[in-house]
């Protein structure tokens, strides 16, 4: 007797369809699994055998062969338990085979027959819907996540017994209700910290607004206790809300990493990730034998906050270069190439020196050489990808206790950000540029045109401040964003001068 069950595995954040074939014939009693399996897939045999026994089904003393095809794809993960069990039962004639057509099954099985959740349900179900399957059978815990996908029926199952009974029409499968993206938002909005909680600090706040409006990367330099982390946490709150596609993409990544919970089955808010500076390159970019998404992918469409930038290992930071250019991470492995999206906004913070108090010489005990050494830890190529750099001042006690009648809320700032972004979208309509920060150097003369007066102004600044070509380009991009926020088509002198104030510290400056 022979049967086929459809299932799938996750590769990167995409899914690959897999077919589980089971054959039960006379011969030496043996349970064999083939098809380029990793250890955890091979173990499915023991789990399935025991689970079936505990549900009251003994495997017949026959030769049982399971094949997972296509054979050239390496199978890994625990999602094959349930499809294997169903395939065996179908081959034994316990489940009617015709019910398995156009049905995709995933799930891990416990020894007691309970069905456990797996990682990456969302990409699997999405793919199944694209392939026009009729239905998906997923563990109950994953049902909410799977319900985000439209155009496919879903069965949430809890135990193996339930599966068998369901297929034999003794009971009806439980079908979860479809989730609406945006639905949950109306019900309860996750507590996002608000900019109105920060007293003063207008300078940094303004820089944040500009950075977000043009999706520029941001570096904050300031002493300990200047509220750098506090500010960074509030940045996702002024980014425009994610579109449905964006939210789905982010949710997929979290699904693959298994970071979705039942109560929070999908990512309603833009992610904010702040990995500790001891993180490894693999942890940041993604990796492992079977590569999974790293922090930069988890920050997709959100904010990646690197606190104490100078304390990160150099090779860890260097990894950021390619993803920041291409907005995705490409990992090559023996089993194939993996690609994870990583379109994030980088927000970094660092102290001005090792002790953190430079240039307050009464408190700073670093020599000039030490300050330079500290600043040099950040490589120039990374700095070249950061458009805005801003000082943060230590918060004085008076500022802390001052009752400020009105501080702008994140919602107010967000409104302006959205307006500035709309201007950008109009300007870049028909191109693949989305934000000012992504204007290629070759097109700067087109999008950031300066009048004669402004050109003269920039020339004198260029000479006076000994700018480099790269920093000049960054200033133009930022000035474009400031002009957009101002509602101006032309870049004016005041836009340029503000952009110059936010210019990044370059090599010359480091050596200051």
């Amino acid at each position: 007797m022979y049967s086929i069950v459809s299932t799938a595995i996750v590769r990167g954040i995409e899914s690959i369809p897999i077919r589980v074939e089971a054959d039960v014939t006379d011969g030496m009693p043996v349970f064999e699994m083939v098809g380029f399996l990793s250890a955890e897939v091979r173990e499915a045999r023991e789990r399935v055998r025991t689970a079936l026994k505990n549900c009251g089904y003994r495997l017949p003393p026959k030769r049982i062969t399971i094949n997972l095809s296509p054979a050239y794809v390496r199978k890994c993960g625990s999602s094959f338990d349930l499809p294997v069990a169903v395939a065996v039962l179908a081959a034994m004639g316990i489940i009617p085979k015709d019910r398995l057509e156009q049905l995709l099954i995933v799930g891990e099985v416990g020894l007691d027959g309970r069905i456990k959740p797996i990682h990456g349900v969302l990409p699997i179900v999405t793919k199944a819907a694209q392939e026009r399957m009729d239905a998906c059978m997923v563990p109950v815990e994953n049902a909410k996540e799977a319900a985000l996908v439209k155009g496919i029926r879903l069965f949430g199952v809890n135990t193996l017994e339930e599966v068998i009974k369901g297929f034999n029409d003794e009971i009806k499968f439980w079908e979860p209700e479809k989730e609406e993206i945006g639905h949950e938002k109306k019900v309860k909005r996750k507590e996002v910290p608000d900019f109105s909680e920060i007293n003063g600090q207008q300078f940094v706040k303004r820089a944040c607004e500009i950075a977000v409006s043009g999706r520029h990367n941001l570096l904050m330099i300031g002493p300990p206790g200047a509220g750098k982390t506090m500010i960074a946490r509030r940045i996702p709150g002024i980014l425009p809300e994610m579109t449905e596609d964006e939210a789905l993409e982010v949710t997929k990544i979290y699904s693959v990493r298994g970071l979705l919970t039942e109560s929070e089955a999908w990512m309603a808010e833009r992610p904010f990730r702040n990995p500790h500076h001891t993180i490894t390159p693999q942890g940041l970019a993604g990796g492992g034998m079977v590569p999974g998404p790293g922090e930069i992918s988890l920050a997709h469409h959100g904010v990646l906050f690197l606190d104490e930038l100078a304390e990160f290992r150099r090779e860890t930071l260097e990894i950021l270069r390619q993803p920041m250019e291409e907005h995705c991470v490409k990992l090559a492995r023996l089993a194939g190439n993996y690609e994870f999206p990583s379109d994030f906004m980088l927000v970094a913070a660092m102290n001005p020196c090792r002790c953190g108090y430079y240039p307050d010489l009464n408190r700073c005990h670093c020599t000039k050489g030490m300050v330079e050494q500290y600043l040099k830890k950040i490589s120039q190529p990374l700095l070249d990808r950061i458009d805005i750099c801003v000082e943060t001042k230590r918060v004085e006690y008076q500022d802390l206790i001052k009752e400020n009648p009105h501080q702008e809320t994140s919602a107010e700032i967000r409104k302006r950000v959205v307006a500035a972004m709309e201007r950008q979208q109009q300007r870049f309509a028909g191109t693949n540029i989305r934000y000012n920060s992504r204007i290629p150097a070759a097109l700067l003369t087109k999008y950031c045109r300066l009048s004669t007066k402004q050109k003269q102004y920039m020339e004198s600044i260029y000479q006076k401040l000994e700018l480099t070509a790269r920093s000049y380009h960054r200033i133009l991009r930022v000035a474009r964003t400031i002009a957009d926020m101002d509602g101006s088509d032309e870049i004016l002198t005041r836009h340029l001068s503000e952009a110059v104030c936010y210019r990044n510290v370059d090599k010359k400056f480091w050596e200051g």
Binding site: Q202, F203, K368, L465, S497, C501, V505
Partner: protein, 364 residues
């Protein structure tokens, strides 16, 4: 000349022989040549020289290859001036333990010009850096020369101030005069070999060792008529220079700092102990009896040329770096306006960004 070189290196090379004993030897013999040819018996007659010293001198003499050493000196490109020479700096003759020989690059400080030493902390604030430079510039314009130690911070600022006014400036090194220490002052070093000079009592190729620096400070004060201390902590090398200056009877001035300012602690104490106080450059020059009347101060700046808002921003700045956020709070201007003004002022040379978004004013 070969003998002179031999004697000039003795303080450093012979065991237990220091500048003081070299002085005794030289005074007795009168010239290096005579000394070189003296016998052990003759050496013993020199007052204050023990048997051990004689042995040490003779060992040194044996080990020293006159010809080879002389070739080395020529190759190093350094000049040597000794007590036997006419052009030995006269000012040094009156200090305790004058070095027998001085190695130098460039030229020696002229005797007829007023010589001002400006010394201070390596790790200095913009306030100190500014005044070191400013005072040096004015002094040079008034016809003085500037002596310092080529260290980072105040010393370097004093040298570069003198250079900016195209004056002569001299550095006394704590290492060989052919060795630029610290490296970062390479360009100052190069310029000084053209206009001014690099001086050292230590033989060529001497590495900068911590123990050599306090001793060279006596030469900085010795070569000058007036010593100015800018930004010295309560314990610092600059105060050693001030002590030497006191011993040598030079005028000492200190630039005051705020009470509680660690960097100016030493300066303020000097003032307490009776050092001259620099209240303003003009008054200081009056004290020194230097006429500033003919000097064109390149301060063609007046607040009148500033717009109202520009004046507001300018007036909240001083020589202590102030952050953009603080300027914003004090001026109550909108961010974009403040940025515009800061840049205009910086472009016009009124203010300077010394660290990321920290500004100081650079004109009085």
């Amino acid at each position: 000349m070969k003998y002179k070189y031999w004697l000039a290196c003795m303080a450093q090379m012979a065991e237990n022989i220091g500048t003081g004993k070299v002085e005794k030897l030289f005074r007795f013999a009168g010239s290096a040549g005579v000394l070189y040819d003296m016998s052990e018996k003759e050496f013993m007659q020199i007052p204050g020289i023990t048997e051990a010293d004689v042995k040490s001198v003779l060992t040194y003499k044996k080990a020293w290859n006159l010809e080879e050493a002389w070739e080395n000196l020529k190759r190093s490109g350094l000049y040597l001036v000794t007590r036997e020479d006419e052009n030995y700096p006269k000012r040094l003759l009156y200090i305790n333990k004058p070095p027998y020989g001085i190695f130098y690059k460039g030229s020696l400080p002229p005797e007829d010009k007023k010589s001002i030493a400006i010394v201070g902390a390596r790790r200095c604030s913009e306030y100190g850096r500014y005044y070191a430079k400013h005072l040096a510039e004015l002094a040079v314009k008034a016809g003085c020369i500037i002596i310092s130690g080529l260290a980072a911070g105040i010393d370097g600022a004093a040298h570069s101030g003198a250079m900016a006014a195209e004056g002569e400036t001299y550095a006394v090194m704590g290492c060989g005069a052919d060795y630029c220490y610290p490296r970062q002052n390479q360009s100052l070093y190069q310029t000084m070999t053209q206009k001014g000079g690099i001086l050292s009592e230590y033989m060529p190729q001497t590495k900068p060792l911590g123990k050599l620096f306090p001793q060279r400070n006596r030469l900085i004060s010795g070569l000058s008529d007036v010593v100015v201390v800018i930004e010295a902590k309560e314990r610092s090398g600059s105060l050693i220079t001030a002590d030497f200056a006191l011993e040598q009877g030079k005028d000492i001035y200190a630039l005051p700092g705020r009470v509680g300012d660690v960097l100016s602690g030493g300066c303020n104490r000097l003032i307490r102990q009776g050092a001259g106080i620099i209240v303003s450059p003009e008054e200081w020059f009056k004290d020194l009896e230097i006429d500033l009347a003919n000097i064109v101060v390149s301060n063609a700046f007046s607040k009148k040329v500033l717009e109202k808002d520009e004046g507001v921003v300018y007036s909240v700045l001083d020589l202590q770096p102030k952050s953009a956020q603080q300027i914003l709070e004090e001026t109550k201007l909108p961010v974009d306006r403040m940025c515009e003004i800061l840049l205009t002022l910086e472009n016009a040379g009124f203010i300077k960004e010394v660290y990321k978004n920290y500004y100081i004013k650079i004109h009085e």
